[in-house]
């Protein structure tokens, strides 16, 4: 529960550590080019402290920023024999990042206005009537579409229990042994992970078909709860035990 809440806090209030930092800088009316790092680091830590729960997974970026601020602060406190040159200011990197981020925030606000305007306009979403029925809808495709299409096709093939073996470098038998071996060691296999570990596409495809063979031979149980979710594989015993 807390995880979801803190996630929402982050989403709705601050998009990330830079957003929070920018907020604090504006609140204190600080010149972004000359940030009093001690002040802002304290403010930042105060904010993190006020939040009752910080989920490290979710808020890692916020914590990382706190570490950076403390690091810069310590660097600035170090006694130096000679004053720092402009380019050596330990804040430089952060300032540059903030300046760029600030521009993006403004662009965001401007784009948001445009989005609002467009939301009130409605275009037609159906093809107009033509004397003859049209061809299927056509769309411009990107590389992602191309790759996604192929991999979804491969997934569909798998459901059809279709067997294609191409290339001589991968043997179905060896892959099947490999899968069984992995199952004996690990009990449960995350197939997507296994699939991703394959070095070549053909290796990956053969591993898919090996899995199919194993299912068909009733040697393993495989479960995929939803499309795109991983397939979990167990060895089939007399009485299969599901975790």
């Amino acid at each position: 529960m807390e995880t979801t809440e803190s996630y929402q806090v982050r989403l709705e209030i601050f998009e990330g550590p830079l957003d929070l930092l920018l907020f604090l800088i504006r609140k204190k009316k600080i010149d972004i080019q000359n940030i009093p790092i001690a002040v802002i680091a304290r403010e930042y830590l105060d904010y993190l402290n006020r939040k009752e729960q910080i989920n490290l997974d979710r808020e890692a970026e916020f914590v990382l920023m706190a570490a950076l601020l403390i690091h810069i602060k310590s660097q600035m406190l170090l006694p130096r024999e000679e004053p720092l040159l402009e380019g050596e200011d330990p804040r430089r990197f952060l300032v540059n990042q903030l300046v760029e981020y600030q521009k993006i925030k403004v662009a965001c606000a401007l784009l948001k206005e445009r989005e609002e305007e467009q939301l009130a306009l409605w275009t037609r979403e159906t093809l107009p009537l033509l004397p003859k029925p049209g061809e299927p809808d056509l769309a411009e495709v990107s590389l992602f579409d191309l790759a996604e299409t192929f991999f979804l096709l491969m997934k569909r093939k798998e459901k059809e229990n279709f067997r294609v073996v191409r290339g001589k470098s991968y043997s179905l038998e060896e892959k099947m042994k490999d899968i069984i071996g992995a199952l004996e060691r690990e009990k449960v296999l995350d197939f997507l992970e296994y699939f991703s570990r394959q070095e070549t596409l053909e290796g990956a495809i053969v591993s898919f078909f090996s899995l199919l063979e194993l299912i068909r031979a009733r040697l393993v149980i495989a479960i995929q709860e939803q499309l795109f979710q991983t397939i979990k594989v167990w060895l089939r015993r007399e009485s299969p035990v599901r975790p």
Partner: protein, 186 residues
């Protein structure tokens, strides 16, 4: 006459996904008397019947719908031909993706992977110069083998075939949901 009623009806006929029935208009515009609605609809249709219009509203399939005028059909067809030349159908995309990842490949291998005779889509892709014939396979029947072209690479912004997204990359993008859910439920 209620001001703006005709315009509202025009907007509704326009966005409707199917021929818009009079009943549906009345259902939406409950604050207008039905006879006002009918009157304005008739006027709207009349407006589009005036000369000098390229589109009109016809009654079809139990409702009212916009259509291009019959006399402009030749231009519309010419346009659609040009417009669609540059795009791919889902079938072409599927075929192209198989050739991209499995090349060199024969027509029967493509058809086997798609479960569909793919000679027509292969022909279309050849015409679009996205694929080419690069020889014959040394197997019974010596079938032609296909590969993608340089034009294919430029179309998809690739420098070489090695740059095609890998299974890992696509899985990572498509699988992002999963890890998020896992994180949240943990």
């Amino acid at each position: 006459m209620a001001p703006g009623l005709k315009e509202v009806i025009e907007a509704l006929v326009f966005v409707s996904l199917e021929p818009l029935s009079l009943e549906k208009i009345k259902e939406t515009l409950t604050d207008h008397p039905p006879d006002e609605i009918e009157k304005n609809l008739r006027e709207l249709i009349g407006d589009y019947q005036a000369p000098g219009r390229g589109i009109s509203i016809i009654q079809s399939g139990g409702g009212y719908v916009f259509t291009t005028r019959r006399e402009f059909d030749p231009w519309v067809r010419r346009f659609l031909k040009i417009d669609r030349k540059s795009k791919l159908t889902p079938a072409s995309l599927e075929t192209l993706s198989i050739i991209a990842y499995h090349q060199p490949i024969t027509l029967s291998e493509i058809s086997a992977l798609r479960n569909v005779d793919s000679s027509y889509t292969v022909k279309t892709l050849l015409e679009k110069r996205l694929i080419k014939i690069t020889g014959r396979k040394k197997s019974p029947g010596n079938p032609l083998i296909y590969r993608t072209t340089d034009r294919f690479l430029t179309t998809f912004g690739l420098n070489s075939l090695d740059e095609l997204p890998t299974e890992e990359e696509i899985a990572r993008i498509l699988g992002e949901d999963k890890t998020d859910e896992e994180k949240e439920s943990s």
